[in-house]
């Protein structure tokens, strides 16, 4: 069959059903934007639980819910906050509860032994992850929301459904604890790598 390139008159359907088409188009665009958030959400989810499969499940569920509820998103520019809030709620209501019920605590991360592991950089990564693991859930969430995802205090407050003042105090405490932990592990590491004591 041939498809001519004629110059007929094309009464644009957008004129007939602007609302439907614009909704359709908006949903399409937003669906892509939702999917584009995956890596950011995964980093955040992983930082909360340090468990790949749990983080994957959490992100998949977040994306699925986000896609289902797209119609309820009012401000498109707030998509990132909106999705993260969905994920925080899921984490609180399902994942975190399950973990607490089963008595499982977040473990320090055990990376595979690689040559890179010996480098300062990977030691720093490991120590930082361990320090994050040592925080409680509330502190871990707030510090990763602000430092990792770069959310403002107001956004973090909305995501966690707490007042901004709580965000600020939690964040401050979390950072103090992080620094204390890092300082201690720094000494341990130094002690380990400089075994220059004479027997």
């Amino acid at each position: 069959m041939e498809y001519p390139t004629g110059k007929g008159v094309y009464p644009a359907m957008s004129e007939q059903k602007p609302s439907i088409l614009s909704k359709f188009s908006r949903n399409r665009r937003l669906r892509q934007e939702v999917c584009d958030q995956r890596d950011r959400l995964f980093r955040l989810a992983w930082s909360w639980c340090h468990d790949q499969h749990l983080a994957e499940d959490l992100v998949q569920e977040t994306l699925a819910r986000g896609l289902q509820k797209l119609d309820t998103l009012r401000e498109e520019s707030r998509l990132g906050v909106w999705l993260t809030r969905i994920m925080a709620n899921l984490y609180r209501d399902q994942f975190r509860k399950t973990r607490e019920e089963t008595g499982l605590e977040i473990d320090p991360v055990e990376d595979e032994e690689t040559p890179e592991r010996e480098t300062d950089r990977s030691q720093l990564v490991q120590r930082t992850r361990d320090a994050i693991a040592a925080l409680n859930d509330d502190q871990r969430q707030i510090v990763t929301l602000v430092d990792l995802s770069g959310f403002s205090y107001a956004d973090a407050a909305q995501i966690l459904d707490v007042p901004v003042g709580t965000v600020m105090s939690r964040l401050s405490r979390a950072r103090i604890k992080l620094r204390e932990h890092l300082e201690r592990s720094q000494h341990v590491t130094q002690h380990k790598v400089v075994p220059l004591r004479k027997q």
Binding site: G8, M13, C35, F42
Partner: protein, 240 residues
Amino acid sequence: MRHNDELDINAYVDGELTPEERLEFLEAMRDNPELSREACELTNLKSQLQLAYANPPGLSAGATARKRSPWGAIAAGTVLLTTGLLGGWVLGTAPNHSERFVMLDAEGRGQAPATAESPETRIVVHLTNPNQAVAGELLDDVEHMLRAYQRDGQPLRVEIVSHGDGLDLLRTRLSEHQERIGKLSQAFGNLTFVACKNTIDRVEVSQGIEVNIIPEAQITGSGVNHVAKRQKEGWSYIRV
């Protein structure tokens, strides 16, 4: 250090201070090396945290791609169909800009004029693309559209005519979307799947196999004739 100072340092490194507060804090830092050192350490801590989670296990290309496939496909489809289907549709004045989606009227001149006359929107989709990921994206779009029209109480009819390489979508042995087609057909009486008998015969003869078509699909003698007939009746035409 007082509690408020801690909050101020945090707010400073997080960019949460107003310009006036920031200026005040900068001045305080100038007079207080301890404050300055604290702010510097907190800034380092932020960078350190970003580094620690830049590449968590599972974000590597392989694992991520495997888990991402459904979402990745949706994302890819979004670009494709937004620029294709909707592009050709909304920007009906330039249907040839899309290589994969072509819209013609009854005389083959572009957007079907009948949509302006009839209150019912009627669309025939001519599926000849063998890629079932593309077919899946098409189903996504069609479903969205059916739901949107249903929600707004607007009449709509859609026919998906599988022809040539596009027949695979409706073959029981090859379709990756059989279950979904079943659900969609059940949910939407205004959606019809049509398989081309000529294509079925051709495959059976050339490959010496029996071609089974999924039960929800109707079978028409010639997919091309069917599509042409729909166009003459004033249906909007989309080729995928």
